[in-house]
């Protein structure tokens, strides 16, 4: 198709509002399947009951049209802009902010966002630099995709960064992952997706951990070296016996996801960001044929 895709700013505002509310209510199918898988493999009685309750909660949220979890999180919007897209970037960001505030006021949602020093809540789920808006460019024709992630604090508080050194090697990375998953225990609402960032600078490393934690279950790290680690680490964390909610059992994590970036000869950074079992996402894809809402 030739021509340009023009992005209508009021449509972005509507989408931002809709995505925030939708993400809080409906879990993606890959996460639902993840529950099924863990439940089938679980050998601990208490853990099985807990998983069954979590699965029931997903159904209750759908039936009562309610939020899955009370934590409305920190709103994150990942925007991917394809080729031949015409959009005013400043207006796009403003529209996302307005949509977020409207979702909060009009639904109404609990605003979980406060000023970091005064702790004042504006009751808009917004503040300085929040919602977090990440913008990237992708090689796709006439497409703009907005992904919304309400990131819960219980799991976000399970974030760790360590500037390992080259002599610590991959062993240092593996040990760090095991030890931090143990430290996080039940606080991060297991079963989780453990996101691991490896390489880059400190800030990129942390960002990669978030990308890894919020990736769909079943997706694999594009770097084959990272993919190998994912499989190994997934088995290892589920051998620790932490279990759903940290009350014991096999199902500690749906998966460990890894993302990598090149790093400096003197550096070996590793970061962890954890996503809880309320692994919520929603997306809107703008194309010449309209706006498609999904996960």
């Amino acid at each position: 198709m030739s021509g340009r895709l023009h992005i209508d700013i009021p449509a972005v505002e509507e989408a931002a509002k809709l995505l925030y509310i939708r993400a809080l209510k409906l879990l993606p199918d890959d996460i639902k399947r993840g529950f099924g898988r863990l439940d089938a493999a679980e050998t601990d009685g208490t853990a099985k009951t807990i998983l069954a309750t979590m699965i029931e909660n997903i159904a209750v949220a759908e039936k009562t049209d309610n939020l899955l979890c009370q934590d409305t999180g920190i709103p994150i919007f990942n925007v991917e802009i394809g080729r031949d897209v015409e959009v005013d970037g400043v207006e796009l960001k403003d529209a996302i902010r307005r949509g977020t505030a409207r979702a909060t006021k009009e639904y109404p949602l609990r605003s979980s966002v406060v000023h970091p020093l005064t702790r004042k809540n504006e009751h808009t789920s917004s503040g300085i630099r929040v919602p977090v808006i990440n913008i990237d460019f992708v090689d796709r024709p006439q497409t703009l995709r907005i992904e919304m992630i309400p990131k819960g604090s219980g799991s976000e508080n399970g974030s760790f960064l360590k500037m390992l050194i080259p002599a610590d090697g991959i062993d240092g990375i593996k040990t760090f992952v095991i030890d931090r998953v143990m430290e996080a225990g039940g606080k991060v609402c297991p079963p989780t997706i453990v996101g691991v960032g490896i390489g880059g600078t400190s800030d990129l490393c942390m960002h990669l951990a978030k990308v890894a934690a919020t990736r769909a279950l079943g997706s694999v790290c594009e770097d084959p070296e990272g993919a190998k680690l994912e499989a190994l680490l997934s088995n290892a964390v589920n051998a620790l016996g932490i279990g759903p909610q940290g009350l014991g059992g096999d199902g500690t994590a749906f998966a460990v996801h890894v993302e990598t970036a090149a790093t400096h000869i003197t550096m070996n950074p590793v970061a962890i960001n954890i996503q809880c079992h309320s692994a919520r996402r929603a997306s809107a894809t703008f194309t010449p044929s309209g706006v498609e809402i999904g996960f």
């Binding site: 979890c69 109404p108 609990r110 604090s153 143990m182 190994l232």
Partner: protein
Amino acid sequence: MAHHVFQMPVDEAQARKLRVGDTVTFSGSLFGIRDATQIHMFDRGRKARFDMRGHAVIHTAPNVRKVPLSNECPAGYQPVCVGTTTSDRMERFTHPLMAQYGVRFVIGKGGLREASAAAFREIGGAYLAVIGGTAALETTWIERILDVDLDDLNPESLWHFQVRDFGPLLVAMDSHGGSIYERVRETAAGRRAAALAALGVKA
């Protein structure tokens, strides 16, 4: 492993009957409390006006809708989605909640640590685990929001809920020194070496 059904409030003897692994369902009053609520109560000297003696508190900050006063909504708030937050951040408030306000049960997710275990032992109380992230279900156990205090901290106000058949909740820490979290920590620590060996990490 017994199941206990309570009409709140409870006394010390009832609280001490609970053992780790038991389950609890209760009806009546429940008080919602969170980080800011307790920071203001215990670090900034504000006094809560509710009588919480013998009651349960839950670590929460609910989604609510502001509505006109009615019998259904006597505080002008309707519950939208009420769930539970991570308890660990509020560890240091368990003792004063019990000693100063007579609270018997703390409900939360993810568990508490040694100072809380000591308070449960000394004063007689328990930690009841609700399954974090299952707020849609939890909300169906809430009948009404009866009252609210310290509401300038909204959503981290002190909430007075009326609940029916709230649970089943798992007794995860009791007044006899039992803690499932402690047991799981020991299990994980015991399995750490094997997990690292399976990853090919040289000891």
